[in-house]
């Protein structure tokens, strides 16, 4: 009996794992029903559906990058105050005085760019597979919203270092909203909290970046995965061809 087996058999082990060791197919299936993190997965899938060719695993890659962003982002939050007087200094301090500060910031930055790439590529791949067709129209729609949220998260995060790159990219980016007919000026004022990018803008973007948008994103990802589980298992015949 291995160490893992003896742990599973102990009183504590039996309270954690709801299912027996995965020996038979039935045990393996039970692992899905009995595990919170795995219950989103189906028990069986078509062989084609789990191949690299099928999805390029871009959805998984996006999720992993999101996890990396949350982990590194929380770390960065410990050293950052969203105010024009402190923000830039905090980043300098982080890079020079905090253990692994520069490294974690690099991880956050590159994960962010890669996530935009991964999510966009995921969408393109799904298009070419025709994965937006019935019964999955609604999941495609959620995917579009997820792409927009990803872009907004990246864009709001871009301002936070409060350097020249950040300040002017956000000035130019938010100026586009002024050209929306009728409500443009009001929308921009709401977004940046004034007429110029300033202290209020930094605070608003920070709140959006660390609280509002990530919560929305995680909520929608849950629905996205749930609909994948419910809708996408029906696709097999359509996509492989009706033999």
């Amino acid at each position: 009996m291995s160490l893992m087996d003896s742990i599973r058999k102990s009183a504590v082990g039996r309270s954690i794992w709801r299912t027996p060791k995965r020996v038979t197919d039935r045990d393996r299936a039970a692992a899905h029903w009995g595990n919170f993190f795995l219950h989103i997965y189906p028990v069986k899938m078509r062989r084609e559906q789990i191949s690299f060719k099928w999805s390029w695993f871009l959805g998984v890659a996006s999720m992993v990058l999101y996890g990396s962003l949350v982990a590194s982002g929380v770390y960065l939050m410990f050293f950052y105050v969203p105010s024009p007087t402190t923000a830039y200094g905090d980043i300098i301090f982080l890079q020079t005085n905090v253990a692994f500060g520069q490294y974690i910031r690099n991880i956050h930055r590159w994960s962010a760019h890669l996530m935009v790439v991964a999510v966009a590529a995921h969408m393109a791949k799904m298009f070419y597979r025709g994965a937006y067709k019935p019964p999955r129209e609604f999941n495609w729609l959620i995917g579009v919203v997820l792409l927009i949220l990803t872009l907004l998260l990246s864009f709001t995060g871009y301002l936070l270092p409060w350097d020249q790159l950040a300040y002017w990219a956000i000035t130019v980016g938010t100026s586009m909203t002024e050209f929306v007919p009728v409500i443009g000026d009001t929308v921009r004022a709401m977004l940046i909290g004034g007429t110029e990018v300033g202290a209020q803008t930094l605070l608003r973007f920070y709140v959006l970046h660390v609280a509002v948008l990530p919560s929305l994103l995680i909520g929608l990802i849950m629905i996205h995965l749930w609909r994948w589980r419910k809708d996408s298992m029906l696709e097999v015949d359509v996509e492989v061809g009706n033999e």
Partner: protein, 147 residues
């Protein structure tokens, strides 16, 4: 209920007064030049004079919000971001901008020009004729660095 929630959040998140600018004391009218412009960082703009009138310009490009620098050699405003060009009083000459530069309303208080940066007068749209006759007087700053 959803409507009420949206309306309340919208109302609560309106920019706080004072964040959207306000009156800024600048200089006396005699200090404002009529050949060139005077940059006033505190009001994020320029002061100049045309036909006895003070012109209080906002430095933000009406295209996408870059700061439009004054080009001394050509005597016009030239935006480095996307190449919009305006004359000395901020009227549209060329480029992707859709209107002339904005102006601030101002008052003269105790002999000092006080523009109010929260009161913005939109620039005239493209196609409006220029009110001053000042063709570019020299080489443009834009061309010196491009290509």
């Amino acid at each position: 209920m959803a409507g009420a929630a949206v309306w309340t959040s919208w109302d609560f998140l309106q920019p706080v007064a004072g964040q959207a600018g306000g009156p800024v004391a600048t200089v006396t009218p005699d200090a404002v030049p009529s050949e060139t412009v005077l940059e006033i960082p505190s009001m994020r703009g320029y002061l100049t004079e045309a036909e006895g009138e003070i012109v209080s310009l906002r430095w933000k490009c009406p295209h996408l919000g870059c700061k439009v620098p004054w080009c001394e050699s050509s005597g016009q405003f030239e935006c480095p971001c996307h190449g919009s060009v305006f004359n000395r009083v901020g009227e549209y000459r060329r480029g992707p901008a859709a209107r002339g530069m904005d102006r601030y309303e101002y008052e003269i208080v105790d002999g000092i020009i006080v523009p109010d940066t929260s009161k913005i007068i939109r620039g005239a749209p493209v196609g409006t004729l220029e009110t001053i006759n000042e063709p570019p007087k020299g080489p443009e700053c834009l061309e010196a660095t491009s290509e």
